[in-house]
C-alpha cells in the first residue's frame, strides 16, 4: 500500500507524463502515433462504415477500425468500449516501463467518458424487450454501469490503486487528467493513468443527429471547421487515449522515460443551465488564472493552446472570447485536433498527449481548413511552429459549464 505523505503541507502540483497509449481511427500506438497523426495532419473523418446512416442528416464520422480491437480469449467479456480502454492503458503503461505486478499494483486509474457503454445498455434492454426475462444477459449487465471500463482495465492490468470513473460531457478527458493530478497531490498513488474514452454506435449517432448536434445541422456542407465562419457543428468520432501521470520523484527513482510535464491542472464549473454552453461575463476565468498561477507561468509563456471547441458556433465563440480576454492579440497559437479525430467527450487526453508532442518536439496540427476565422484578434495555428513552445495549454469548456485548464510544459 502506498500512502505517500498525507502530512505534506505543500502538496505537489506537478507531474510528469511517462507513457501514452492511444486507440484511434489512425490505429493503436503511443507517443509516436500521436506525433505522427499531428505531423501528417490528415483527417480520419469519412463516411461512416460501421453502421448505416441512410436517411440521416449526417453521415460522417471518425471510427476506430475493427482490426484495431483484439479477438483474444482475454477480451471475451470485454465490451468494445472496454477493449479500447484496456488497449490504450496497456500501451501507456508499457511505454512508461511499468511492467511488474508490484509496480502496477500501486497505480491508480481515472477514466473519463461522456456516454459510457450505452451500446451495452441498449443491447441488454433489447434482450428483455424481445424475449422477456430469459432474453437478459448476465454477462452483459456489468458493462451497463459506466465504471465497467475502469473495472475491466484494472483486472487486465492488475491496477490496485484508487480507481474512479468520471462522467462528463465535452471535457471528460481533461477532467480525468485533472482528477488524476488531484489524486497524486493527495498522496493516493505515485502514478495514475488518466484515460478518456467514448465510442460511436448507431442509436447514439442517430439520436444526436435527431437532436441536431453534429454538422451540418440542416444547412451547409457537413464538415468539421472549428473557428471558421462556415462552422455548423462537430463531426463525431471515437477513441481512447491514456496518459500515465507520475510524481516526478517516483519517475526519477525508477529511471522512467519522461515525455513532458503537467505543471498544473485546474477545473471548476460555471453555473449554467444543463445542456447549454456557459455565458462568460466580465472575465470570469478563475480556472485559467489559477492554472497559470499554480504553474508559475505567465500568459506570455504559453505558446500554443489546444481548445475543446469543435465547430459548434456557440462553443467556438465562447472559447475564443476567453482566449482573447486572457491572452490578447499576441497570445498562444490556438489549435484543435477535432478536424483530424472527430469530436467525443473523452478526447481531452488525446489533446494532452498532443500538447506533450508540441512542447517536446514542436509538433502540432495545422488548421488548413481555416479560411474565414470568426475572430481576428487571436492567432491560429495554420502553419507549423518554428520552435517548440515551452508551455502549451489544454483548455476545455463544456455544456453545463465545466471549465478546465491544463498546462503542459517541456522538461
Amino acid at each position: 500500500m502506498w500512502l505517500g505523505d498525507p502530512m505534506m503541507t505543500r502538496p505537489a502540483s506537478r507531474a510528469v507524463i511517462t507513457g501514452i497509449g492511444c486507440v484511434s481511427p489512425f490505429g493503436v500506438g503511443g507517443y509516436d502515433l500521436v506525433a505522427e497523426v499531428l505531423k501528417a495532419n490528415v483527417t480520419a473523418i469519412q463516411p461512416l462504415a460501421g453502421f448505416p446512416t441512410a436517411g440521416l442528416a449526417s453521415c460522417l464520422g471518425a471510427e476506430v477500425p475493427a482490426a484495431c480491437l483484439p479477438l483474444t480469449e482475454e477480451a471475451r467479456r470485454w465490451s468494445r468500449l472496454s477493449q479500447m480502454t484496456v488497449l490504450a492503458c496497456r500501451q501507456a503503461v508499457a511505454e512508461a516501463g511499468l511492467c511488474s505486478s508490484a509496480a502496477l499494483g500501486q497505480v491508480g486509474l481515472v477514466v473519463g467518458s461522456q456516454f459510457g457503454d450505452l451500446r451495452s445498455t441498449e443491447a441488454f434492454s433489447l434482450g428483455f424487450l424481445r424475449k422477456g426475462p430469459l432474453g437478459l444477459s448476465p454477462l452483459l449487465f456489468p458493462s451497463t454501469v459506466m465504471n465497467a471500463m475502469a473495472g475491466m482495465t484494472s483486472i487486465a492490468l492488475g491496477l490496485k490503486g484508487p480507481m474512479l470513473t468520471l462522467n462528463q460531457s465535452g471535457v471528460a478527458g481533461e477532467l480525468a487528467v485533472a482528477r488524476a493530478m488531484a489524486l497524486l497531490r493527495a498522496g493516493r498513488a505515485p502514478a495514475v493513468i488518466a484515460c478518456g474514452v467514448d465510442e460511436l454506435f448507431p442509436l447514439l449517432y442517430e439520436t444526436l443527429v435527431q437532436l441536431r448536434v453534429p454538422s451540418p445541422r440542416g444547412s451547409g456542407e457537413e464538415a468539421c471547421r472549428p473557428f471558421d465562419r462556415r462552422h455548423n457543428g462537430p463531426i463525431l468520432g471515437e477513441g481512447a487515449t491514456a496518459v500515465v501521470l507520475e510524481l516526478p520523484e517516483h519517475a526519477r527513482a525508477r529511471g522512467a522515460p519522461t515525455l513532458a510535464e503537467v505543471r498544473s491542472a485546474c477545473w471548476g464549473g460555471i453555473p449554467t443551465r444543463p445542456g447549454r454552453f456557459p455565458i462568460l461575463r466580465d472575465r470570469q476565468y478563475p480556472v485559467l488564472d489559477q492554472a497559470l498561477t499554480d504553474a508559475a507561468v505567465r500568459p506570455d509563456d504559453v505558446g500554443m493552446a489546444y481548445l475543446s471547441s469543435c465547430g459548434d458556433p456557440q462553443h467556438d465563440a465562447i472559447e475564443l472570447a476567453c482566449m482573447a480576454a486572457t491572452f490578447g492579440p499576441n497570445g498562444p497559437l490556438l489549435t484543435s485536433v477535432t478536424h483530424l479525430t472527430g469530436e467525443y467527450g473523452g478526447l481531452g487526453t488525446f489533446r494532452v498527449a498532443a500538447a506533450a508532442a508540441t512542447v517536446r518536439q514542436g509538433i502540432s496540427p495545422r488548421l488548413d481548413y481555416l479560411c474565414q476565422p470568426i475572430r481576428t484578434d487571436v492567432r491560429f495555428a495554420t502553419q507549423p511552429v518554428t520552435q517548440p513552445p515551452a508551455v502549451a495549454l489544454v483548455h476545455g469548456l463544456a455544456r453545463g459549464g465545466v471549465h478546465t485548464a491544463i498546462l503542459v510544459g517541456r522538461l
Partner: protein, 408 residues
C-alpha cells in the same frame, strides 16, 4: 483513542450539513427516525412492471413524496438530488458567497436512466410514434450534477463519479481531498440513484436479489434488495467552518480508496482490496483498528459479499472486535447513493449515540464472527465510526468519521 498526530487544523475536514431523501420520505430527520427504529421499508416495487422476475420488491420512494419534490419536468433523480442538497445547504447555513467557489461531486450510476427507459420502451413498442428524445438530455449522471450546480449557483470543481455502489462514498473522499490539499474550502459531496428497469432486470438476471427483504449477515441470506434515494453532505475546512460559526456535525478522519483488480462482480475470497481501503483510511486518520468500535457495513445481503466483508473486517479489526450493521437491510441498496446515505447514517449514529440495527437478522450466520446488531438499535457512545462501500467491479471506499468534539 490513540494519540493522534494533529495535522494543521486548517486542513482538517468537517461535516457541517446533511440532507437526505430516502424511502422513508423527505429529510434527514425522517430518515433517522426510520433507521433508529429499525423500520424495514422494503415492499412491493410499483414504479414499473415486474412480472416474470424472481425478486419484485425494493425500497421505493412513495409517489406522494416524489410528487412533493421538485417539478414534473425534472427527472426523478434530479428531484431527489435537489431536495437533499437543499436540506444540506440550509442545515449548514451556506450562502451564495460560499457556494460560488464550492466543489460539488455527486456520485450515481443511473442518472436519469428511468426516463430514458420510458422513451426507449415507447420507441420499441411504437416505432412509428416515438416521442422526441428530450428525456435523453438528462440521462447521464453528469446532468444531475450540472442541474444542482445551476440550481444552487455552485462554481467550484465539479465531478460526477461513477463507481457503482461506491460512487457517493468516492465523492465524499475526493471532495475531502480537495479541501485537505487547499484547493477549496467548501464542497458538496453525495449521491443519487433511482430505481431503474436496467438495475432491476440486471441484478435479477445475475440472481443477486432476494425475493424476500434482504437479510444481510443471516445464515439463510439470498441476496440484495434494491432501493433509491439521495444524500448530500456539506464538507468544509475546519478553519472556514470555525470562522463562520458553522454547525459541526462530524470530522472526516480519513478515507481509503482501493481496487480489487479481481472480477467484474465478485470480491476475492481474501477481500484484500477491502482490507487495503480500510487500512488506508485508518492510516490517513492516524488511527489504529482499536479506535473503531462500529462499522456501518456495505452489507448487501449476498452470500459472497457478506462473507468477504466479514473476512475483511476480521483481518483489520480481529473477529468480534467491532459492532457492525447494514443500512441496506432497512432501506435497500440505493446503488450510487448508498455510500452517502450510509455516511449520513454513521454520522447520525455518532451524534445520537444510537447504532441503527440490521433488519431481518433472525438467524445470524455463525461464519460471520461479529455482532451485527439484530433488529433493535444499540445505545453506544462512540468517538468515531467507519462506513464502507465495496462496489461492483472491485472498487472499495472506506470512510472514517469522528464526533466533532473529539480531538483529532
Amino acid at each position: 483513542m490513540s494519540q493522534r498526530h494533529v495535522r494543521d487544523d486548517e486542513c482538517r475536514v468537517v461535516v457541517t450539513g446533511l440532507g437526505v431523501v430516502s424511502p422513508y420520505g423527505r429529510g434527514s430527520q425522517v430518515y433517522w427516525q426510520g433507521l433508529s427504529q429499525g423500520h424495514c421499508i422494503l415492499g412491493p416495487l410499483r414504479l414499473f412492471p415486474t412480472d416474470g422476475f424472481r425478486s419484485r420488491i425494493a425500497g421505493e420512494m412513495s409517489a406522494a413524496t416524489v410528487r412533493a419534490l421538485g417539478t414534473a419536468h425534472q427527472s426523478r433523480a434530479t428531484r431527489f438530488l435537489l431536495a437533499a442538497a437543499q436540506e444540506a445547504v440550509c442545515s449548514a447555513g451556506l450562502g451564495p458567497a460560499e457556494l460560488t467557489t464550492a466543489a460539488v461531486s455527486i456520485g450515481g450510476a443511473g442518472g436519469g436512466m428511468l426516463e430514458a427507459e420510458d422513451w426507449y420502451w415507447a420507441r420499441y413498442h411504437q416505432p412509428q410514434d416515438t416521442p422526441k428524445p428530450v428525456a435523453l438530455r438528462s440521462m447521464l449522471p453528469t446532468n444531475q450534477t450540472d442541474a444542482l450546480a445551476f440550481h444552487l449557483r455552485i462554481g467550484g470543481p465539479r465531478e460526477s463519479p461513477v463507481l457503482a455502489c461506491s460512487s457517493s462514498a468516492a465523492a465524499i473522499a475526493t471532495v475531502a481531498d480537495l479541501i485537505e490539499t487547499g484547493v477549496v474550502e467548501v464542497g458538496l459531496a453525495g449521491g443519487v440513484d433511482t430505481l431503474t428497469r436496467l438495475c432491476f432486470m440486471g441484478f435479477n438476471a445475475l440472481k443477486l436479489l432476494d425475493p424476500q427483504p434482504c437479510r444481510p449477515f443471516a445464515r439463510d441470506r439470498r441476496g440484495m434488495s434494491l432501493g433509491e434515494g439521495a444524500a448530500v453532505l456539506v464538507l468544509e475546512s475546519w478553519q472556514h467552518a470555525v470562522a463562520r460559526g458553522a454547525p459541526m456535525r462530524a470530522s472526516v478522519a480519513g478515507c481509503g480508496l482501493s481496487s480489487d483488480a479481481f472480477h467484474p462482480t465478485a470480491p476475492p475470497a481474501d477481500a484484500e482490496g477491502a482490507v487495503r481501503a480500510m487500512r488506508e483510511a485508518l492510516a490517513r486518520g492516524h488511527m489504529t483498528p482499536a479506535d473503531i468500535t462500529y462499522v456501518n457495513a456495505h452489507g448487501t445481503g449476498t452470500v459472497q459479499n457478506d462473507r468477504a466483508e466479514a473476512v475483511a473486517l476480521a483481518a483489520v479489526f480481529g473477529a468480534g472486535n467491532v459492532l457492525v450493521s447494514s443500512t441496506k437491510s432497512l432501506i435497500g441498496h440505493a446503488m450510487g447513493a448508498a455510500g452517502a446515505l450510509e455516511a449520513v447514517a454513521t454520522i447520525l449514529a455518532l451524534e445520537t449515540g444510537l447504532l441503527p440495527p440490521t433488519a431481518n437478522l433472525w438467524e445470524p450466520d455463525p461464519a460471520i464472527p461479529f455482532d451485527c446488531i439484530p433488529h433493535t438499535p444499540r445505545p453506544a457512545t462512540l468517538d468515531c465510526a467507519m462506513s464502507n462501500s465495496f462496489g461492483f467491479g472491485g472498487q472499495n471506499v472506506s470512510l472514517i468519521f469522528l464526533r466533532p468534539d473529539v480531538a483529532g
